[in-house]
Structure formats: C-alpha cells, structure tokens
C-alpha cells in the first residue's frame, strides 16, 4: 500500500489554487522583468540611433568646417536648389576668383556633396594654369561649374549622407557680402529625423574683384 493511500491528507502535487497563484506570481514577475528588459532594450536602441545621428551631425560639421572656416567668400547661393558656391582659396591671381579656387556645395539626393574643378592629370601645370581662368565677381559660378562638369573636368565627394533636406541662411542679402552663414540639415535617423544647425564664420572674408 503506497504512502498516498496510507495518508490520504498528504497527497503529492499542488492544489489548483496553489497552482494558479504560483502561475500568477510567475507571470507577474516575468512581465515585470520582460517589460524592464524591453524598456532597457528600446532605450538602448533609441539612444544608439540618436547618438549615431548626433555623431553623424558632428562629423558633418567637422567636414563642412574644413571648407567654410577657410572660405574667403560665398560667391553665389541659389535659394531654390540651395546650391552654394564658395571661394576656397586665392592663389593664382590675387584678389580674383579662378576656376580651381571655387567649390560647389549641394544638398540633394540625401547627400551633402562638394564639387570642384579638376583638370586632367595629363595636362602640364602650365596648361592647367592657362585653363584656370579668372571668373569675374558677377559670374554665374554654378553655371561655370556645370560647364566644367559637362566637360568631365570636375570631381566631387560626399561630406554627409542620410540627409533629408538642408537650407542655408546668410548674414547679408548679397552672398558675397555675407560674413556668416548657417546651414540647417535634417538628418535621417531611422524614421525619426534629427535636425542640426551649423553656424559658420568667414573670418578671412574677402570680396572678389
């Protein structure tokens, strides 16, 4: 005869109530732990996305500053396309803008790019300098860059990607008079856009001849 039969009051197992209580407690604890983990996970994930966007914004600022901090002038700005031409340095003919001295900054197709004139490498320095014509201050610099692009004599590189849109604000009505500029970018951060604003100062501002 087994012990359960001998001791009917001490049979093994849980009563239904005990089982239900145990299940409830287990479920509550699981829920608590699970929600905490989910919260941690989502916070970590969100934090990571925001941090990535911020770091990307910072990297973009560093790369854009490489151009804007040293720029002598903002030569032209197209309000519709937000294309902006800057005069990066003045080497060949003093106080005048030469083709190779300009840079075209564009915000389009999710990218911030910089484009510059680069003559074929097989040209001699004399040929390159001869082709590096002076552009009067009232030139259409964007068109000049487009003409060089059509000849295949430009190169470009990306300064920043995952950019939804951007817009410039200048400190003067005429771009060539502006000593300061602001660029507002909207960066794509996995569905939640992050805005960044960069303020630039042209401390070597020069008005071209």
């Amino acid at each position: 005869m087994n012990s359960a039969a001998r001791h009917p009051g001490a049979r093994r197992g849980l009563t239904l109530v005990e089982l239900l209580i145990a299940l409830m407690i287990t479920a509550m604890m699981g829920l608590a732990i699970g929600s905490m983990m989910t919260m941690v996970g989502s916070a970590t994930g969100r934090d990571s996305v925001e941090r990535t966007a911020l770091l990307r914004a910072h990297a973009g600022q560093v790369r854009l500053r490489a151009y804007m901090d040293n720029a002598l002038s903002i030569l032209q700005h197209d309000k519709d396309t937000q294309a902006t031409v800057i005069w990066l340095y003045d080497k060949l003919v003093t106080d005048s803008v030469n083709l190779r001295e300009i840079r075209l900054l564009t915000v389009a197709d999710g990218l911030v790019t910089v484009e510059w004139v680069a003559f074929p490498e097989n040209w001699s320095p004399t040929m390159q300098d001869a082709a590096d014509v002076v552009l009067p201050s009232d030139s259409d610099f964007i068109a000049a860059m487009a003409a060089q692009r059509a000849l295949g004599q430009t190169k470009s590189t990306t300064l920043l990607n995952h950019v939804q849109d951007g817009s410039w604000a200048l400190s003067a009505a005429s771009p060539q008079d502006a000593e300061r500029a602001r660029l507002t970018l909207t960066l794509d951060a996995e569905g939640s856009p992050v805005q960044a604003l960069y303020a630039f100062g042209l401390k070597d501002h020069t008005i071209p001849e």
């Binding site: 012990s3 001998r6 001791h7 001490a10 093994r12 905490m36 941690v40 916070a43 934090d47 925001e50 941090r51 911020l54 770091l55 914004a57 910072h58 600022q61 500053r65 901090d69 604000a169 400190s171 000593e179 300061r180 602001r182 507002t184 992050v194 805005q195 960044a196 604003l197 960069y198 303020a199 630039f200 100062g201 042209l202 401390k203 501002h205």
Partner: protein
C-alpha cells in the same frame, strides 16, 4: 521496529520553501535587480552626458566661428553674452533645433597680452571664451585669442 510517525515523515518531506529561504531569495533578487537598474541608469546618464558634450562642443565651435567675424572693437561688447539652456540662437537670431535643447551658451571676452619671449614680441588681443552648459554644470569650454588689428 516501529515505523516513523506519519506526522514527522510529512514534516520532513513537505515541499516548498521556508519563509527564510523565500526571504533570502527575494533579497538576492532585489539586490540583483537594483544593481541592474543602477547600471542601466548610469549608462543612460553617461550616454546623455556624452551627447551633451558633443552638442556643447558643436555649440561653442559655432559661437567662436561667428565671433571671429565680429569687428575687433565690438568683441568686448560680447563679454557676458548668455543664452539660456534650450534657447540658444546664432548671432543673427536663428534658433537652434531640438537636439540642442539641453545646452545653453555664454561668452567671456577679456583683453589679454601674450608675450613670446623667444621672438621678443608682445601682442595685445582679446581672449574670447565660449562655454556651453546644462542645468547643472559646464559641458564644453573653448577659447580663441584674437590679436588686435595691426595699423
């Protein structure tokens, strides 16, 4: 031979935890959860502080870049310039977007003379110090020395 009593057998084989064991278990679990929680929040705080540091660095960089274009004679007027946390704007009045909610900025501009003994020259100029801060502390400080314009 007498068999053990049913009561003492039942007492020895009773399933479950004693109160003490349950309490010990709860304490261990609590401590573990507490440690986890503390670690997570510390990590979160470090992350937020890092983001503030980056934002602060960007904000002071912008401030100094803009002040570099201000005429030298006007720099002293920026001494004490301050923008509250979450309300920073460019010099020309453009407000900074949402990510910059957590920092404010202030500027100190003081006249300074720098001696360069190896060259035997002394140059007067303005030390411009830009500071980004949150509600509690300064998160970023950078400065620039702008020499007085030559004649």
């Amino acid at each position: 031979m007498h068999p053990s009593s049913p009561r003492s057998t039942a007492a020895r084989t009773r399933r479950g935890f004693t109160l003490l064991e349950a309490l010990f278990g709860c304490v261990i679990l609590s401590v573990t959860m507490l440690a986890l929680g503390v670690a997570v929040s510390a990590g979160q705080r470090a992350s937020i502080d890092s983001q503030k540091a980056v934002l602060g660095a960007m904000a002071v960089d912008d401030m100094l870049a803009e002040l570099a274009t201000v005429p030298y004679a006007s720099l002293a007027g920026y001494h004490g310039f301050s923008q509250a946390v979450g309300a920073i704007e460019s010099i020309d009045g453009d407000p900074y977007p949402a990510p910059f909610w957590c920092v404010g900025r202030r500027v100190a501009a003081v006249e300074q003379e720098i001696d360069v003994p190896s060259l035997g020259v002394k140059v007067r100029g303005m030390a411009v110090i830009a500071t980004a801060f949150d509600e509690v502390r300064d998160v970023a400080v950078a400065e620039v020395f702008i020499p007085e314009p030559a004649e």
